[in-house]
Structures are given as structure tokens and as C-alpha cells.
């Protein structure tokens, strides 16, 4: 029996394809990373079906590439080897459980931010999850496992920190759990006190197995939420002011972006240029309180920090949301609308990419100004995006490039991103949602013991090397 016939026997003919359209559409993502076609695409509906697929693949040495909702970056779902089978998990889309008391949700891979939001609004209105700067239909599970950032990251860190536990199919076909749910269902409250086996899957880009369920933390919705915008000049003064605000733990989130991105939200047509005298950055601040007074007090404290900053640069400006709504009109709503609206400025072309890193706060401003020079050298629109993370234990920055995917531009994007990454690595920053080319550069700079440990763990979990081979440059 051929591999295709075996897969059909598991999921049915309708959900296996080796047609040209499917092979092509699953061969690339929105970034500049080189495409490669899978041999076929299979779409299981259940853990049992997926387990059978993995068992066959392990026996027949078939490389498997996990894929969920299709809004991919970093080449993360592009096969790195020949004859791979892409496993599209979007049919596994159940919200398994929401626990109002312990505040978590257990979801399958195909559950998206939009769907979780809708579910919570309808069934658990006092709770919220967090939303990334991404289209609304990206996978909650994939984003958490890729340790991305979201609209609570300034207060609480990367999404990988929100994982309470998970269920996974190992490359050899066994189903395992990590976290408190090892004690049974309805008990996904956390990861400790245990050996933290979530780490065998978080950040691995699907190299250690298929995660079939994940428990993520939810948070109570605060009664009062306020937004404000901060317009600032200079990379170092901007990051210094954000550090001060974040360390004081006044804000849920700070979305700092090149002013060009704010102008894009306002509808300025591409290419969006920087004009002398415009503020360099616009930051959306979100703060909340259980009573209005709490939110107001936080806002007042932020005002004093900005006033201090104005002693050195009188143009640093904090603007409350009432004024922003009037100044920016309808688009003010887009700026705060997660997970739906804000991504639209990134859909100008078929190409979209970024080099994003997490970085020590002491290098944050330097990374930003150095990165800016590189992007300006290549003539791309200035689209820096930065966020204080986890109450300023670390910083995040990325330079986004939206580009038409013609050959010449793709080549230019590759050079620009490579230069950005080299510069970031020189400051000991860590790239996230790491493409293979970036992972290889990281390995050259990283402690060799870490790379060796990765290889050893992988060999132990996946002796036949079937799970997403080639990722992380391994």
C-alpha cells in the first residue's frame, strides 16, 4: 500500500492531497524564506487519527511538517527535506475546556485567537486571553509554543509563559502529557512543582512531536481599561521612558512602533516615508484597574514619568485616548482592536517578514538605532516594532518589512534581514520564530553545549528524525 493510500485509510480520501495546487500552496509562507513543496498534505480530525499518521511515518521514515491555519512566517511550515508530508491540523479545532475558577482554557491546535475570543465573550465573559499583532485566525497553540508576544506581554511576558500544560504525540507515536493534567482531565492549573516537560515542546518548532492540546492561562477582565498614546523622539530616550513605565508595572501592554506604522493605520499610501520633525515612535499604552481610581492613578504616574522625560526632550508627548480618537478618527479604533483590525497595515503586499528578537534591556536602545540605520540603508519603509516584556525583564524589537515578492526585492530583503540579524546577535539578542538560516547563525554564536543538548534530546525523542527535520538547523 502506498503512503497516500495508508493516509487515506486513516483520514478519508477527501483529506489527503498530492495535487499540484495543494503542494504549491503549502510550499511557502509570507516571508522571503525559500519555498519547498511537500510530497502531500494530510488533514487529520482527531488525536487518534494523528497518532496513526505519526506511527506510519515513524515506521516508514516519512518526514512530517506540522501546519495549522496558514498565516505563517519564518518559513516555519516550509519543509526542509524532500518527500515531506505536511500535516494540516486545522480540523482539530475544539475548545476542550474553559475553567473559570483556575482561569485556563484547553484548546486543540486549530483554535484561533478569534474563535477563543468569541467563545470567552459568549461563555466566560469575565475572562480574557491575549492577542498578538497577527491576523485574528492564527492558532493559539502555535503562537504559545513559538513563544511569541501579545497584548499582555509587557506585564506578563511571552506567550510561552502562559502554558499550563500540554498533551503531545511523540515522534514514536506515544501520547504524553506535561503539567498538572498528568493527574487527569479538569486539572490543567499549572506546570509546577514538576520537572518542566513543557520545555520539551515549547520553542521546538514542531521537532519533538505534535502538541494536540494545550492549556493556556486566562486573565480576569478588569473593569476599567484606558488607552493612551505616547509620541517620542530618539531610540534611546524612547526605550528609557518605556523601561521606566514598564518597571513600575503600570501598564498591561505597550505597543511601540515607528510612526510610519501609525501613519499606515491612518491610510497613508505606500511607500510611507519619514519626514523631518515627525516623532520617531508612537506607543499605544494600555492600562487597567478594578476601579476607575486605580486606572486614573496609574495614568497620573505615567504623566509624571513623561513630564520628567520632557526635561530632556520637550516634544515627548503623552496623549489621552479622547484626544487620540478625535485626532486619528475611525482609525484610532484599529490601533486598539485586537485581534482583528491592526494587522491590516501589514497586508499591503504578498511579502511580509521581520527579524524579531528578545534582548537584554541594556542593549535595547542601541539595537533599535542600529537596526534603523540598516533598514534605512536598504531603503525599506521604517517599521520598527518594540515592546517592553515581562515588566521589563527583557525587551523585544523587530523590523518589519512589507514587500512585493518579485525576485529582486526578495533578494534585497534577504540581505537586509541577514544584516539585521548579525547586528542583533552581536548584541546577544535571541531571534524568535526563528527561520532556519537565522537558527544556523544563532548556533554559530551560542554555547556549543546548548546545541549539543538540543541534538541529544531530539535524538532521544525522535530516533528516526521524522518530525520537521532541518528546523533549527539541526
Amino acid at each position: 500500500m502506498s503512503l497516500k493510500q495508508k493516509l487515506i485509510s486513516i483520514v478519508g480520501e477527501q483529506y489527503v492531497s498530492d495535487g499540484l495546487a495543494e503542494k504549491y500552496v503549502y510550499s511557502f509562507d509570507m516571508t522571503e524564506n525559500p519555498p519547498k513543496r511537500p510530497a502531500m498534505v494530510v488533514m487529520p480530525e482527531s488525536v487518534q487519527q494523528l497518532q496513526q499518521i505519526v506511527r506510519i511515518a515513524n515506521k516508514d521514515r516519512v518526514p512530517l511538517v506540522p501546519f495549522v491555519t496558514g498565516q505563517n512566517i519564518g518559513g516555519l511550515t516550509i519543509p526542509q527535506v524532500d518527500d515531506a508530508v505536511t500535516v494540516d491540523l486545522k480540523r482539530m479545532n475544539k475548545i476542550v475546556e474553559v475553567d473559570d475558577e483556575a482561569m485556563y482554557a484547553v484548546v486543540e491546535p486549530g483554535v484561533t485567537f478569534g474563535h477563543l475570543r468569541k467563545y470567552l465573550d459568549e461563555h466566560n465573559p469575565s475572562l480574557t486571553y491575549t492577542y498578538p499583532l497577527a491576523p485574528p485566525y492564527t492558532s493559539v497553540l502555535a503562537n504559545a509554543l513559538l513563544q511569541g508576544l501579545c497584548d499582555l506581554s509587557t506585564m506578563r511576558g511571552a506567550m510561552g509563559d502562559f502554558i499550563n500544560g500540554l498533551e503531545a504525540i511523540l515522534p514514536t507515536g506515544e501520547i504524553v502529557r506535561a503539567g498538572s493534567a498528568i493527574m487527569g482531565d479538569g486539572n490543567w492549573f499549572g506546570r509546577y512543582p514538576l520537572p518542566d516537560l513543557v520545555g520539551l515542546f515549547s520553542g521546538w518548532q514542531g521537532m519533538s512531536g505534535f502538541v494536540t492540546k494545550i492549556a493556556v492561562q486566562l486573565w480576569p477582565k478588569k473593569q476599567f481599561t484606558r488607552h493612551a498614546a505616547l509620541f517620542t523622539f530618539g531610540e534611546v530616550p524612547t526605550t528609557e521612558l518605556l523601561k521606566r513605565i514598564a518597571r513600575a508595572q503600570l501598564i498591561d501592554d505597550a505597543d511601540c512602533m515607528s510612526l510610519s506604522i501609525v501613519k499606515m493605520l491612518l491610510g497613508v499610501s505606500p511607500p510611507v516615508q519619514v519626514y523631518g520633525g515627525e516623532p520617531d515612535y508612537g506607543t499605544l499604552l494600555t492600562l487597567s484597574g478594578n476601579i476607575e481610581k486605580e486606572a486614573d492613578a496609574k495614568y497620573e504616574l505615567i504623566e509624571t514619568f513623561v513630564e520628567d522625560a520632557r526635561k530632556n526632550e520637550s516634544r515627548q508627548l503623552l496623549v489621552d485616548w479622547d484626544a487620540i480618537s478625535r485626532m486619528l478618527g475611525d482609525q484610532a479604533k484599529s490601533w486598539v482592536d485586537f485581534p482583528s483590525d491592526a494587522f491590516k497595515v501589514l497586508t499591503e503586499y504578498d511579502g511580509l517578514t521581520w527579524v524579531g528578537t528578545y534582548i537584554h534591556p541594556k542593549h535595547w536602545g542601541e539595537a533599535l538605532s542600529g537596526g534603523r540605520k540598516i533598514v534605512e540603508k536598504y531603503g525599506f519603509e521604517l517599521m520598527a516594532y518594540l515592546k517592553p516584556m515581562n515588566s521589563m525583564h527583557f525587551g523585544e524589537f523587530k523590523f518589519i518589512i512589507r514587500f512585493p515578492k518579485d525576485d529582486a526585492t526578495v533578494e534585497k530583503v534577504r540581505h537586509c534581514n541577514e544584516e539585521l540579524l548579525d547586528f542583533a546577535l552581536s548584541l546577544k539578542a535571541l531571534p524568535y520564530k526563528t527561520p532556519v538560516w537565522a537558527a544556523k547563525k544563532l548556533q554559530q554564536n551560542a554555547d556549543p553545549g546548548f546545541v549539543e543538548l538540543l541534538k541529544r534530546i531530539r535524538k532521544t525523542l525522535d530516533p528516526n528524525g521524522i518530525m520537521n527535520p532541518g528546523r533549527w538547523g539541526l
Binding site: 497613508v268 523631518g276 520633525g277 515627525e278 516623532p279
Partner: protein
Amino acid sequence: MLEQPKDFIGNILAILTSKPLARPDFKDIVAKWKMVVVLETDYYPVTIRFDKGMRVEHGDIPHPTLRVNAKLSTIIELVKGKTSPIRALLNGGLKVKGILRHPRATLRFYRLISSSLKR
């Protein structure tokens, strides 16, 4: 009426003025204006040209009909209704050169701005 400016303050002005300019009667009136106003801010100046419509450009030009000077923070105070154009003029937050030479242009610009600031 107003083609989209490319700069930040130009966009803010475009949004603020879009409401009164959406009224056909007022739009027709503004379309007849012929004057140039430079708005100097602590960020950068913009030039507002009225000539069969309104256009905002980044930068300054010599010899405009009116030269208005205000910090962006003052403009925000105006937007929020915490001050009025008259009060800002009196306390020096807003300065206008050309009032005496071009009283009609001043009145027109005042009319546009005050109707843009109405809630």
C-alpha cells in the same frame, strides 16, 4: 476635497477638518478660498494651501498669507476642548502673523478650525 497628506500632522489636520468639509455647503465655500497658511509647530511646519480645495504639505514656504504658531500640545488642548482658539491666542499658546494684513483669511481659517474642533 483633501488629498491624503503624507505626514503625521497633515493627517491629523485632514481628519479634524474632514467633518466640516463633508458638509457640501461648507465644502463649496472652502473651494473658493485662495490663501496659504503655514502652521508652525514644535515638531515641524506644515503648509496648508487653499486653492480649489485644501492641500496639506510637510514643510514651510516663505510669505504665506497667514503664519500660525502653536505647540502640538496646544493643538491637543484645542482638540480636547480644554482651551479655545481665542483663549489660546490671548494666552500666547497660539500666535498668528498676518491678522492685520489679511483679516478675511484669518476669519476664514478661524472658521475652518473652530468648526473642526466642534464635538
